[in-house]
């Protein structure tokens, strides 16, 4: 019961809005600190890969971006689903706020992958399963945002795009498993970079730190954006008036 109450308390925009405002600086700060540490580890501690040379250092943004692109989609779909089933406005707004960042990370995964592919595989782009499914993911994000934009009534837009997000979520396991299902050029799902074991662990650490940095970045940006969405969606309510008056 108490848990229930809390849930509803924090899912009400009026409570969530100031709370989010307070949390943003912490996440932003964490993101900056982790990025600095991660880049230091990645560029100055992790050794040169004997097969790929220095080119492999793209991994420290490629893999985090690729992981975030999928993770954000799943989180977005969950929010959209909750919004659809329980008719909570805030969850739909969260889904909207996540989409642009997810699309950006998807694009970055594609971009860094392409820049990596040229020196490693000798081509910018191959029609390989993982690359293709990542491209599909980008289209799904764009589809989600376009569908929302195409519907005028905010209530209907929330429901329709929520349903789409849920249907599209089946693509995520496909991306994740694609390397096993197809025989392709792309790396398997384990980090297998050819070098000594001790060095591998520093690479792993650097990559892990960068993943956390991107995670924190995402939370910070998405919280700002969801605050914008909340202000727009509820501009005629009293709490928005109060919030604006207090200059938050």
């Amino acid at each position: 019961m108490g848990l229930n109450l809390n849930w509803f308390k924090y899912s009400s925009p009026a409570t969530f809005y100031p709370l989010a405002g307070k949390m943003i600086p912490y996440f932003a700060g964490l993101a900056v600190v982790l990025t600095v540490i991660g880049l230091y580890l990645g560029f100055f501690v992790a050794p040169t890969d004997f097969k790929q040379g220095e080119g492999y250092r793209i991994i420290f943004i490629h893999v985090p971006a690729a992981w975030m692109s999928m993770l954000i989609y799943v989180v977005m779909a969950v929010y959209a689903g909750v919004g659809l089933v329980f008719n909570t406005r805030l969850s739909s707004l969260m889904a909207y706020a996540l989409a642009p960042t997810g699309a950006m990370f998807t694009f970055l995964a594609l971009w860094t992958g392409a820049l990596w592919g040229k020196p490693m595989w000798g081509t910018w782009w191959v029609w390989d399963a993982r690359l293709t499914s990542e491209l599909i993911l980008l289209f799904l994000y764009i589809g989600f945002m376009s569908l929302r934009a195409a519907i005028d009534d905010p209530r209907r837009a929330a429901r329709a795009s929520g349903l789409l997000a849920i249907v599209g979520v089946i693509n995520v396991p496909i991306i994740y498993k694609s390397v096993e299902w197809w025989n392709t050029l792309h790396q398997g799902a384990t980090v297998t970079i050819s070098s000594g074991t001790s060095m591998e662990s520093t690479m792993l650490t650097a990559m892990a730190v960068m993943v956390f940095a991107f995670w924190m970045y995402t939370i910070a940006v998405v919280l700002v954006r969801v605050r914008c969405e909340m202000l727009e969606a509820e501009q005629h309510t009293d709490w928005v008036a109060d919030a604006v008056r207090e200059g938050k």
Partner: protein, 64 residues
């Protein structure tokens, strides 16, 4: 420490274009996203502030 000199660092073992191309574009996108979203927040707050002032101002005039 992997690098003998700054120039060696920037050369990235001959992969400068690919590595810095990746990091550069990533930085541009992430910074741009932050700027855009913060600016959006500011414009919305300003617009709502203006609307609010107009409403309050209107009420005030009506009363006096």
């Amino acid at each position: 420490m992997n690098w003998g000199s700054a120039s060696e660092f920037f050369a990235m073992g001959g992969h400068a274009f690919y590595v810095w191309g990746s990091y550069g574009v990533t930085t541009v996108f992430m910074v741009a996203e932050v700027v855009l979203v913060v600016r959006r927040k500011r414009t919305i707050t300003q617009r709502l502030g203006r609307m609010l002032r107009m409403r309050i101002g209107g009420k005030h005039e009506a009363q006096t």
